[in-house]
Amino acid sequence: MNKLRWSFVLGLFVLLMYGNAHSYAREIAIISHKDYPSGTITAAKVKEIYLGEKIAEGTVKIKPMEQNDESIKKRFIEKVMGSSVDAYKAYWIKKFFQEGITPPTAKTSSSDLIQAITQTNGGIGYVWSDDVKGDVKVLLKIDVGN
């Protein structure tokens, strides 16, 4: 009976820890203008867009936007782009200079970014999943951990 009780407590503890971990895991949503030609997107394509390698979806020019908020920006660059923030910035200095491709436009907050995307054909950006609102299309959600 004692063994059963301890097993129950241990099981409960494991379940609580698991649930706790998941409750803190956050998701980044890749959002776009409602008329964006595609309904979904892969993480690989998001990376290409934010590296300036993919600049059009069919004939629609992609207008990538990013956030000035360091917490989400850092998480996006590290988890989605697979890069350090400094390496990402250095990459864009090079890309801009070599090819004249402008870096993603920075917005001060999620609400600013969402507003800009609703007004920009081809606009694409990232926000925390909880912040998605308004007339935008969610193309992808990416779990970026705790």
Binding site: E53, A56, T59, K61, F97, Q98, G100
Partner: protein
């Protein structure tokens, strides 16, 4: 100096006007300062100019790029050696889709990798000095590194990997005289003959081998002396004599490879330069190449070594007229990244030079330190 000030004022005005308009142009730039000393450089060698040990500011490079209602514009203005002002790039273009961009204007000739990747902005360049054979036309360069014309380019993703291509059509270069030197000119505002230059390049980054990129390029043009190709006939005379005319059909074939695995980077390019002399009805082939090895320690410290070689046919009128030298150089250095915008590099270069006109040979060592910045 007045010309430089005028251009800088114009550039600043455009920038300030843009700030107040709905379009936000962002003015960016590169700058660098350096110290170079070639303690044992013999007289007449390329290293002679730094035998006293020179502090120098290198290039001030100002550029801006923006898309205005889907029309792409890129402007790059360069002040070199404190006095020479170049409108380095000016392109206006349109992107139809990933696989097709069109640009008109003055751009970096799409031959090889270094010429387009590290053209200016020494902060981007892995070494202090660029390979000698990739020098700019007005700095004794032998390759047409700038072109004025039309450039098509694009990127296509396939199952085999990402393929990039480019094709250009523009003014061919000419051999001209400038400040008593015979140099190549890209013919900025008019061609000196009807033969246009054409070039194409293609590269693939195969999916099967991450970090690898292989490319090829080709360039065809006719190069002739223009009416300015005069040389001092006598040091005490104001009258200059024309140089022997040059008329060659030039074919440049290039191959490039870059590979990065973990912290190690390899990069190399090879060029074959074939000149068919239309005056003597003879043909000559020369070659140039470099190989660069880098090793990144936590993205902060990057030791590197580069080997380069340029071997020109000593009967080729193109190289004889330009006063080209054969060069073999080994450079070893260390780059320290202060942050993502700035770096300090220290470099030692061992040089072997053979002047193909005078047949003189020289050997010397150079030491250089450079602080570079992107802003």
């Amino acid at each position: 100096m007045k010309k430089i000030m005028c251009m800088l004022i114009l550039f600043t005005t455009v920038f300030l006007m843009s700030v107040s308009s709905s379009y936000a142009f962002e003015l960016n730039g590169f700058a660098d300062v350096s110290f170079t000393a070639s303690v044992d450089a013999p007289e007449g060698s390329l290293g002679e100019e730094s035998k006293n040990g020179n502090f120098a500011f290198g290039t001030l490079d100002l550029y801006l790029a923006q898309s205005l209602e889907d029309i792409d514009i890129l402007v790059e203005l360069v002040v070199e050696e404190g006095a020479i002002l170049d409108l380095e790039r000016l392109t206006i273009g349109y992107t139809f889709e990933d696989s097709l961009k069109v640009r008109f204007g003055r751009f970096h000739t799409p031959i090889g990798v270094w010429n387009t990747a590290y053209h200016h902005g020494t902060q981007l360049q892995p070494t202090i000095a660029r390979p000698e054979f990739l020098n700019f036309e007005d700095d004794g360069g032998i390759l047409p590194v700038h072109t004025i014309g039309l450039y098509l380019s694009g990127r296509v993703r396939t199952e085999a990997g990402a393929i990039e291509y480019g094709a250009m059509y523009g003014n061919g270069p000419a051999v001209t005289g400038e400040d008593g030197n015979i140099i190549l000119t890209p013919n900025n505002i008019g061609d000196n003959n009807t033969n246009k230059a054409v070039a194409a390049h293609a590269s693939i980054a195969p999916e099967a081998v991450k970090g690898l990129k292989i490319g090829v390029s080709g360039y065809l043009s006719n190069v002739q002396t223009d009416e300015n190709a005069m040389i001092d006939s006598d040091i005490d005379s104001d009258i200059d004599d024309p140089i022997d005319p040059v008329d060659v059909d030039q074919t440049i074939i290039g191959a490039a490879i870059s590979y990065s695995i973990a912290d190690v980077g390899l990069m190399g390019e090879y060029f074959s330069i074939a000149n068919k002399d239309n005056i003597a009805d003879d043909s000559f082939t020369s070659s140039a190449y470099y190989a660069l090895l880098t090793y990144s320690i936590k993205d902060k410290w990057i030791p590197y070594v580069m080997y380069e070689n340029m071997t020109a046919d000593d009967e080729d009128p193109y190289f004889l007229t330009l006063g080209t030298s054969d060069i073999t150089r080994v450079s070893g250095g260390l780059r320290y990244n202060i942050n993502y915008r700035s770096s300090i590099k220290g470099e030692i270069r061992s040089n072997d030079q053979e002047d193909i006109v005078k047949d003189d040979t020289w050997t010397w060592t150079e030491y250089a330190v450079q602080w570079a910045l992107a802003f």
